[in-house]
């Protein structure tokens, strides 16, 4: 009964005081340390910032031209470059997503702690964390240095990045699966392959499809920048257009990217709703 007495004491000492919002962080010392730390950091950060305001001011006119360019994008004058870059981006996206998924499925099986033995689990988790820690652009730089300029480097980069993303999320889904169904398949005397095919795969299929389409979307977005470092795709065209201040072409390319991404997102919504 001590609890109710406590509440009574608290209540009587609080009577007559207006209600106050409870703080987001309960411990007062932690709250104050965080607050003071944030303020100190902000002061330090802003004091180390160098902004060349006259350059910014001079650039505003160019910025305005860019915004105007969006109202009249120039699809025609560099259409052949745009089409070529865009097909290359799409091709890289498709192939790398397919190859990435194909490689990530076995890795995901290996990285699920309820399926894989310990050494395989550690090896697969290591591959996943390497792939996730390295930024796509950095990987692309290395692949361009090794394999030469062109879409092959971009394709390899995106496949590599897909592995880390897909295998990690898929492995988590496998770890969450319903053991009973898998057990039932096993008890019929199924081989390991049959067990994975009929016991595990149906359970993770909706998630796999959803993630694959999401990754297709990400790969397309990423393929648009890989060209900046010479790994193929629309990025090279975009970079050239920026360098020449051809904002009409830039606007056209950006609009195409946005429209494709929107279309992919819409499509993935429909497919994911159907799969569920």
């Amino acid at each position: 009964m001590s609890g109710s007495v406590d509440i009574g004491v608290k209540l009587s000492s609080r009577l007559g005081k207006p209600w106050r919002k409870p703080p987001f962080i309960n411990s007062a010392p932690l709250r104050w340390t965080l607050l003071i730390g944030t303020v100190v950091y902000l002061i330090l950060a802003f004091s180390s910032f160098e902004v060349n305001w006259s350059r910014v001011y001079a650039g505003l006119e160019r910025g305005w031209r860019f915004i105007v360019a969006f109202s009249q994008p120039d699809f025609t004058s560099r259409s052949s470059d745009i089409i070529e870059g865009m097909t290359e981006s799409v091709i890289m996206t498709v192939t790398s997503t397919v190859v990435g998924i194909a490689i990530s499925i076995p890795i995901a099986l290996g990285a699920a702690s309820n399926i894989a033995p310990m050494p395989i689990y550690l090896a697969c988790r290591f591959i996943i964390s390497i792939s996730r820690a390295l930024n796509e652009i950095i990987v692309a730089i290395l692949f361009v240095a090794i394999f030469g300029f062109g879409p092959l480097a971009g394709f390899l980069t995106l496949s590599f990045a897909t592995i880390g993303f897909l295998a990690k999320l898929l492995a988590e889904d496998i770890e969450d699966m319903n053991k009973v169904q898998a057990e039932a398949v096993k008890s019929t005397g199924a081989s390991w392959l049959q067990w994975v095919n009929f016991g595990v795969q149906p359970q993770i299929m909706p998630r796999l499809i959803g993630l694959s389409i999401y990754r297709l979307d990400i790969n397309f977005r990423e393929s648009a920048v890989l060209g900046l470092v010479g790994a193929g795709g629309i990025g090279a065209t975009l970079n050239t257009a920026f360098d020449r201040y051809e904002f009409g072409t830039v606007a056209a390319i950006l609009i195409i990217i946005i429209v494709v991404v929107m279309a992919l997102e819409y499509l993935s919504g429909i497919i994911r709703a159907r799969v569920k």
Binding site: K21, F24, Y41, A45, S48, F49, E50, V51, N52, R55, V56, G59, L60, R62, G63, F66, T87, E88, V90, I91, M92, V94, T95, V98, A133, L134, N135, I137, I138, I141, L142, A145, I146, F147, G148, G150, P151, L152, F155, R221, E222, A224, V225, L228, V229, G232, G235, L238, N239, F242, Y245, V250, L254, I257, I258, V261, M262, E265
Partner: protein, 272 residues
């Protein structure tokens, strides 16, 4: 139940009936053809000689890059500080701008479904679909090279991401709590502060830390297009083929990313 009769007259269970099986095969066939055509296009544009030569080149680069030039690390202090600032301040500005956009985009709080909501959704989609490197490229050509361009690029790129996750959180709130505050006679702002905000605050903090983690990764490469941070050092080292410096920079970036992920995982674990 679909089944077929095998050579000894027994019925054998099958996953699909005949039409389903045919459709399945046709879809796989179509996908295979698309993949093959795409692959041939890539193959045509590849100088295969370089690819066959790749192991040697990779070993060569590896040999040059190792060991890293450790004394170069004294020159990386300021760039990594800039990178951290771009990520942190960029996330902060993005959140400041994302909050009103998220409230405009959420179906239950939007001021007008006809005008404000489509506008907010347009902002979300357009900022989200364009990569931060492209934003950086654009801002470098507008405001000039430097940390400022990187900061704005990261902020703009993050607006859509944060606003999207935030408006989904707002749409999932418990309406009865909002109703309760309204029933006590709370004004619009009071309903917002006491009814809606406490419900989305954990989601908000989670989104902030999540995006901060991503922004650390992204801000490490912004320097490649001139937008400040450690990427500038990476670019200049690559240009002069100073591989020992490149390997050191990559190691520093890796450490920064791992620390960022660790911090964000800890904070999210504490919130949720």
């Amino acid at each position: 139940m679909p089944s077929k009769i095998n050579s000894s007259g027994q019925k054998v269970w099958q996953v699909r009936d005949r039409n389903g099986q045919l459709l399945n095969w046709a879809l796989w066939m179509g996908a295979a053809i698309i993949f093959y055509i795409s692959w041939m296009k890539i193959s045509d544009q590849t100088t295969w000689f370089f690819v066959y030569d790749a192991p040697r080149i990779a070993a060569d680069i590896g040999g040059r890059a190792l060991p890293p030039k450790w004394e170069y690390i004294t020159k990386l202090g300021k760039p990594i500080w800039d990178t951290l600032n771009i990520a942190t301040l960029g996330t902060m500005f993005a959140l400041i701008m994302a909050v009103p956009i998220a409230f405009m985009a959420a179906q239950n709080t939007t001021p007008s479904k006809l005008f404000a909501r489509p506008l907010a959704l347009l902002i979300i989609v357009s900022t989200r679909s364009v990569n931060s490197l492209i934003w950086a490229l654009l801002l470098v050509s507008i405001v000039g090279p430097g940390v400022f361009a990187g900061l704005i690029a990261i902020s703009i790129r993050s607006i859509g991401f944060c606003a999207k996750l935030l408006y989904e959180a707002i749409e999932e709130i418990d309406e009865t709590q909002v109703e309760a505050i309204r029933a006590t006679g709370g004004s619009g702002w009071q309903v917002m502060v006491y009814g809606i905000v406490p419900q989305i605050l954990p989601a908000f903090a989670g989104i902030a830390v999540f995006r901060w983690d991503i922004n650390i990764r992204e801000s490490t490469v912004l320097g490649l297009v001139g937008a400040g941070g450690i990427g500038l050092q990476l670019q200049s080292s690559l240009n002069i083929l100073a591989w020992p410096q490149v390997s050191l920079i990559l190691a520093v970036i890796l450490v920064a990313v791992v620390i960022g992920e660790f911090v964000s995982a800890k904070v999210r674990g504490a919130i949720i």
